[in-house]
C-alpha cells in the first residue's frame, strides 16, 4: 500500500526544483533557491532509497550504494571548497561534464543489463529504450567531451610533463558540414539499432561519434565565448538526464532534466544578448583566438608615483576590473586603493562591471565581494557608461576587449559588442602586463591615447606600488 505512494516523493522533489530555479534568478532570493535545489535533490535520493527497499529483493547493494554516495560526495565537496575563486568557471564546466557522463553511463548500464538479461522483442518497449538510450548517449557523451575541452580552454592550456601546451582554437569552415553529418549519422545509427538492438557495434559507434562531436563543437569557439558554451552544455546535460528518465521510466529524471534543459537554454540566450552575439554565430562562426593582430605601435609606460599624483585631486575614480584582476588575485589591493583615495583625497570610487568581464558572467562581482567591496559601488555597464565623461580617472585593471573602442567601429571580431566607455574619462590608467591583444585578438587604440597612462606589470604588484605611492603623498 505504502509503496504505491512513493512517487509523491518525486513530485515534491520536482516542485522544490521549480522553486529553486525560480529563486536562483533574483539576487535577494538566490541563496534560498540553492537551498531548495539541495532539498529537492535530498528528497529525490531518499525517495529512491525507500523505493528500492520495497522492490522485490529490496536493497541488495548497500555497500556499493553507500560507498558510491560517500566517495562522490567527498570528492565533490573537497573540490568545491578547495577551488580558488578564479578557477570557479573551470570547476562548473568540469562538474557539468560529470553530470552528462553520469546520465550517459546510467543509460549504458541499463541498456547493457537489458541486452544481457532479456531477449528484446520488436515493439514499443524496444523502440523507446533504444531511441532514449541512443539520444541519451549522444547528448551525454557530447556533454562530457565538450565540457572537458571547455574546461581546458578556460584554463588556457594543459600541463603535460611540466610543459605548458596552449589549448588550441581551430575551426575551418568545412568543420560545420562535418558536425552536421556526424549528428545525422548518430541519428541513423539509432534508427538502425531499433531493428537490431543487441548489436553492440552500433552502441560503440554512437558513443565514439558523440565524443568526437562534443570536441569539434567546442574546438572552434574562442575563449571569450566559453561561458556561453558552458551554459549550453549545462542545458544539454539536463536533456541527457531527461532521456535517461525515459529508459528507466522515472518521472523526476524527466521533469528535472527537461527543466534544466529548457532554463539552461534560455540562460544561454540571455548571456548571448549581454554580449550582443547570436547563439548561432557563437556555435558556427569562429571568433576570437583566430588571427591575432600584430602590434605595430609602442607606448611608454608610466610609474606608480605619477599615477598617485594624478589620483590626488581626482573627485571621481571609476575602476574597471577584468580578467587580469582575477589572475593576479589583487581584489584586496584594489579595495585598499579605493579606501585610501576615499580617505586621503575624499574621492568618490565606483566600479564598472562589464557583463562578461573575466571568464564568466558575474566573475568580477564574486571577486570584489570577496574583498568586501560594498555592493552599491558595483555598477553595471549600462548604468555607469554615462558617468565616464565626468569622471577624472578610469583605472582599468587587466581588462582589454571589454573597453576596446574598436567595438564601436562595427568591424572586426569585436564589432557590436557593448563596451565600457573608459575612454571617455579625463585620464585613463591601464594596469596590464604588456600591450598584447586580448582574447578577441584585436589591438586596442585606447592604450596609445595621450591621456592614457600604462602601468606595465602584474596587477597585484602594480596595485601594491600604487597604494604605497599614495600613502607617501
Amino acid at each position: 500500500m505504502f509503496e504505491d505512494w512513493i512517487s509523491f516523493g518525486y513530485l515534491l522533489s520536482a516542485v522544490l526544483f521549480v522553486f529553486g530555479l525560480k529563486k536562483l534568478g533574483h539576487p535577494r532570493t538566490a541563496p534560498r533557491g540553492n537551498q531548495y535545489g539541495m532539498m529537492g535533490m535530498s528528497v529525490a535520493v531518499i525517495t529512491t532509497v525507500v523505493d528500492m527497499h520495497f522492490l522485490p529483493g529490496g536493497i541488495v547493494g548497500w555497500t556499493i550504494i553507500g560507498s558510491g554516495i560517500l566517495i562522490g560526495s567527498l570528492i565533490g565537496y573537497i573540490m568545491a571548497v578547495k577551488v580558488e575563486m578564479t578557477g570557479m568557471p573551470e570547476m562548473v564546466a568540469l562538474f557539468n561534464g560529470f553530470g552528462g557522463a553520469a546520465s550517459a553511463l546510467v543509460a549504458l548500464s541499463e541498456t547493457w543489463k537489458w541486452i544481457e538479461t532479456t531477449t528484446p522483442e520488436p515493439g514499443l518497449e524496444t523502440t523507446v529504450t533504444v531511441v532514449a538510450a541512443g539520444l541519451s548517449a549522444l547528448v551525454g557523451w557530447m556533454t562530457l567531451t565538450g565540457s572537458l575541452l571547455a574546461m581546458y580552454k578556460l584554463k588556457g592550456g594543459i600541463e603535460v610533463f611540466g610543459k605548458w601546451i596552449r589549448t588550441p582554437t581551430w575551426g575551418p569552415a568545412w568543420l560545420n558540414p562535418v558536425k552536421g553529418s556526424l549528428f545525422i549519422s548518430v541519428l541513423v545509427l539509432i534508427m538502425l539499432s531499433i531493428d537490431d538492438p543487441t548489436n553492440t557495434n552500433y552502441l560503440w559507434a554512437i558513443i565514439g561519434m558523440s565524443c568526437v562531436l562534443g570536441i569539434i563543437l567546442v574546438l572552434p569557439i574562442g575563449g571569450a565565448d566559453m561561458p556561453v558554451v558552458v551554459s549550453l552544455l549545462n542545458s544539454l546535460s539536463g536533456i541527457a538526464a531527461a532521456f535517461t528518465g525515459f529508459i528507466i521510466n522515472n518521472s523526476v529524471l524527466i521533469v528535472a532534466g527537461s527543466l534544466v534543459g529548457a532554463s539552461g537554454l534560455i540562460l544561454t540566450v540571455i548571456m548571448c544578448k549581454a554580449m550582443n552575439r547570436q547563439l548561432f554565430d557563437v556555435l558556427f562562426k569562429s571568433f576570437g583566438g583566430g588571427e591575432r593582430q600584430e602590434l605595430t605601435r609602442t607606448k611608454v609606460g608610466s610609474d606608480a608615483d605619477e599615477v598617485a599624483m594624478m589620483a590626488d585631486g581626482a573627485q571621481k575614480i571609476i575602476i574597471v576590473p577584468g580578467y587580469g584582476m582575477a589572475v593576479s588575485q589583487c581584489q584586496h589591493q584594489v579595495k585598499e586603493f579605493a579606501d585610501l583615495v576615499a580617505e586621503k583625497f575624499d574621492t568618490e570610487v565606483k566600479y564598472a562591471i562589464h557583463p562578461v568581464a573575466g571568464r564568466m558572467p558575474g566573475h568580477m562581482n564574486v571577486l570584489l565581494a570577496e574583498a568586501n567591496v560594498p555592493y552599491e559601488q558595483l555598477i553595471e555597464m549600462d548604468e555607469i557608461n554615462s558617468e565616464f565623461p565626468e569622471c577624472d580617472m578610469a583605472i582599468v585593471i587587466g581588462a582589454n576587449d571589454t573597453c576596446n573602442p574598436a567595438a564601436r567601429t562595427g568591424e572586426g571580431p569585436l564589432a557590436g559588442m557593448p563596451i565600457i566607455d573608459a575612454d571617455q574619462a579625463r585620464t585613463v590608467v591601464i594596469i596590464k602586463r604588456s600591450l598584447s591583444v586580448g582574447y578577441a585578438g584585436v589591438d586596442n587604440d585606447l592604450f596609445y591615447e595621450d591621456k592614457t597612462m600604462m602601468l606595465f606589470g602584474d596587477g597585484k604588484k602594480m596595485m601594491n606600488e600604487l597604494n604605497a605611492a599614495i600613502k607617501e603623498l
Binding site: 534568478g25 535533490m41 558510491g68 568557471p89 547493457w112 544481457e116 528507466i248 528535472a256 534544466v260 540571455i270
Partner: protein
Amino acid sequence: MTPELLIGAITLFVLSIFLGVELITKVPAMLHTPLMSGANAISGISVVGALLGANVAYDGGQTLVSGILAFIALVLAMINVVGGFAVTNRMLNMIAGKKRGD
C-alpha cells in the same frame, strides 16, 4: 512499457520544457554563473538512475558490467550534485549574502 506510460512520460517532458522556459526571464548578469552552476547541480538528478542501477545482485557476473557502469555513474553524479551545490553556495555567499548584510 505501455503506450499510456509513454504518452504520460512525453507529456511530462513537454510540459516541463515549457515550464523551464517560463521560469527564467530576466536574470541580472552577476547571477548568470550561480544560476548556471545551480541548474548544473540539479542536472545531476541522474543520481536516481545510478542508485537504481547500482542496486543489483552480482550473481555469476551476468550483471557485473552494468553494475560497475552504474557505480561509476553514481560517483560522478554525486560529485556533480554535491560539488555543484557547494560551489553555488560559495558564490552566492559572496554576491547575494553581502548585499543582505549591508
